[in-house]
Amino acid sequence: MGKNDKLSFYVKTPLIFVQESFSSHIEIFEQVYEQALELGWVRSDFLERIKEREDMFPTGIQLEKFGAAIPHTDAECILTEFVAVITNKKPVQFTSMEDKNKKVITDVVFILGLNQPHAQLEMLQSLMKLLQNDNILEEVLAAKDSEQLLHAIKKNEK
């Protein structure tokens, strides 16, 4: 596995938000958008497009113990690739990926800012592996700062 294939390569400190209390998924999107726009990593239509896509194709995933969401949007809005990670001290409601009538209360949100479809298989696989590992996920959720969070994510890659 090359360096660029790892999830930790895409998770960058300015887009890690730990133990946050957002009131809605929209607020999470706004926070990530503001930061990413300032960094020059997204186009200005990112916010609108990710909101639209989440409405049309929700990304909430009910896991064994936790709830997660993996919002993403079209490749052309992303200038520099990233995975934003948000852990919720106060759970945030998303709609389930498989059923529009089902809600998922999320503890963690991974916003995928990717612009090369098909290219990041290994990174995506390591993200899915992380979602399926309660122990590592618990550590991610317990992280008190971005350093601890990255440390937990890197553990998953060993």
Binding site: Q62, M97, E98
Partner: protein, 97 residues
């Protein structure tokens, strides 16, 4: 048995379908089923179903299709993934009969 054609869809054709596609390719290969697996956006499924044998989607199916369609979020959440494997293999094996 002829080569079967499988469509793997998600909303953007970018994230979850990439992972699920690999999983399906490996699953079919491990079971000696010759398949052409194609990654699409769910919106393209209606026009691409012609000539395909099944549709596997990680997202909500927005409409009904002429071909068998399976939602496969279990491959992402890990819940019920084995059952999905079984279901897809059964479907793949029934194609030729």
């Amino acid at each position: 048995m002829r080569k079967i054609k499988v469509l793997v869809a998600c909303g953007a054709g970018i994230a979850t379908s990439t992972v699920v596609m690999k999983r399906i390719e490996d699953l079919l290969q491990d079971n000696n089923i010759d398949a052409d697996v194609q990654q699409i956006k769910i919106a393209e499924a209606v026009s691409k179903q012609e000539g395909a044998d099944m549709l596997i989607s990680t997202t909500i199916l927005p409409t009904q299709y002429k071909i068998p369609a399976i939602t496969a979020l279990g491959y992402i959440s890990g819940i019920g993934a084995d059952k999905l494997d079984k279901e897809i293999l059964e479907l793949a094996r029934s194609v030729d009969q």
